[in-house]
Amino acid sequence: MTVPNATDVGAGDHACLTFTDGEDRLDLIAAFVRGGLRAGHKVVCWTDAIEPDGLAGQLAERSVKPGAAIRRGQLRLSPVSDSLLGSGAVTAAAMVDVLSGELDAAAREGYPGLRISADMAWASRPVGGVEELLAFETKVADLFADGRLCLICQYDRDRFDAVTLAFAAKAHPKTVAAQVYYEHPLLRICRQYSPPGVRVAGQLDYRQRDVLEQALGESLRLDRNPRVNLARLDYIDGACAGVIVAAAMRLPRSRRMTVRCQRLVATVLDLVGAGSAPGLRVQVSHEQR
């Protein structure tokens, strides 16, 4: 049932994206938006925890250029309160009507399909109406019959109780979650979906060398030009820096690996031979701790 990769979600799918890490959510949404735009579908993001402008900026940081798509009407970012929830009382039937209206509009505008991502954070607030949300998730099933609609509903695991999450997971035929290789308060190694690669945050030393090798190995198999996001990595030791440089050294000439990191990490990569790997680009990010 679990689909670890958001890019595997396509026309006719109704998926539940559960997350605890905000970066994971944005990353998966970016991959979802990018896939939809590339397929020539209309893409709508109903936002809640993040404002539309904020989301546009986050998409741009993840290799999705929202500006042109927004201008030509292919992409729309709007608050869930102005769209899905409408102005009256929040009811499951009204929400299904909104969705069905969007589907008709996309068809009239000539799009072969419609992708929607909806942040369901609103339902966790006292006035939200989690019962209506759950009824909506069940009733909406008919809209997927002709294979034009693809809907990803975002559930923040920290906001919803376990019973609601279990129900939500059941109401969705698919589940989307980021692949996490290692999770600890001091270190997190996970797959990055947009741009595709690996993300490492925290402090990394030789004890997690094997996990790092596994994550990089998988990215090298899946991604032509892997992006290694170390922007939130505060420390790396020589052993792990060596793993990254060695991975880049083994790339064939036609491929490259791009590492984004803080100055300290760039220095260590440099000292263990980053300069001798022709396919390795190291970009120092200014996003310091």
Binding site: Y235, D237, G242, M249, L264, T267
Partner: protein, 151 residues
């Protein structure tokens, strides 16, 4: 960072014995379970001594690599001393391991494709420190590595 390019560090001709501090700012014993904590403690003390961010970063790297060497090759545990003199920070790590036979270890760049024991740690330390001395413990056992991190 002043040590941007991995230029070959100057070999230290003086067969120096470690300098002795009048008083130390930090004296910590460590093993693998305290590696994270050690790096954090070292950084906090350097901050408190008024070191610049860049100098603290170099110190964390050097302390981390020296402690890792002690844990992995020097018997699993060690002791770290940190003190300062003028603007420079002194970091000394000692262990009770078999010792480092070659006092010039880490003076040539590691091969990027070398495996686990690629000798990266001491190379990194020599590049980030202005002076690095490797000596044997007072009773003929173990290793003492002392690094000077200039401002």
């Amino acid at each position: 960072m002043s040590s941007g390019d991995p230029a070959a560090p100057r070999p230290h001709r003086r067969r120096a014995s470690p300098s002795r501090p009048e008083s130390v700012d930090l004296d910590e014993t460590f093993d693998v379970n305290r590696l994270h904590m050690l790096r954090q403690t070292v950084a906090a003390h350097a901050d408190r001594l008024g070191a610049q961010e860049d100098q603290v970063e170099r110190l964390i790297m050097v302390a981390g690599e020296l402690a890792t060497n002690a844990i992995r090759h020097g018997g699993g545990r060690g002791r770290l001393l940190l003190w300062h003199h003028d603007d420079a920070l002194y970091c000394q790590v000692s262990d009770q391991g078999p010792g480092i036979k070659d006092p010039t270890a880490g003076t040539s760049p590691p091969k990027p494709l070398a495996g686990e024991s690629g000798g990266r740690g001491l190379w990194i330390c020599r590049n980030l420190a202005s002076e690095l001395t490797i000596s044997t413990g007072p009773d003929g056992h173990g290793t003492i590595v002392q690094a000077v991190i200039p401002r």
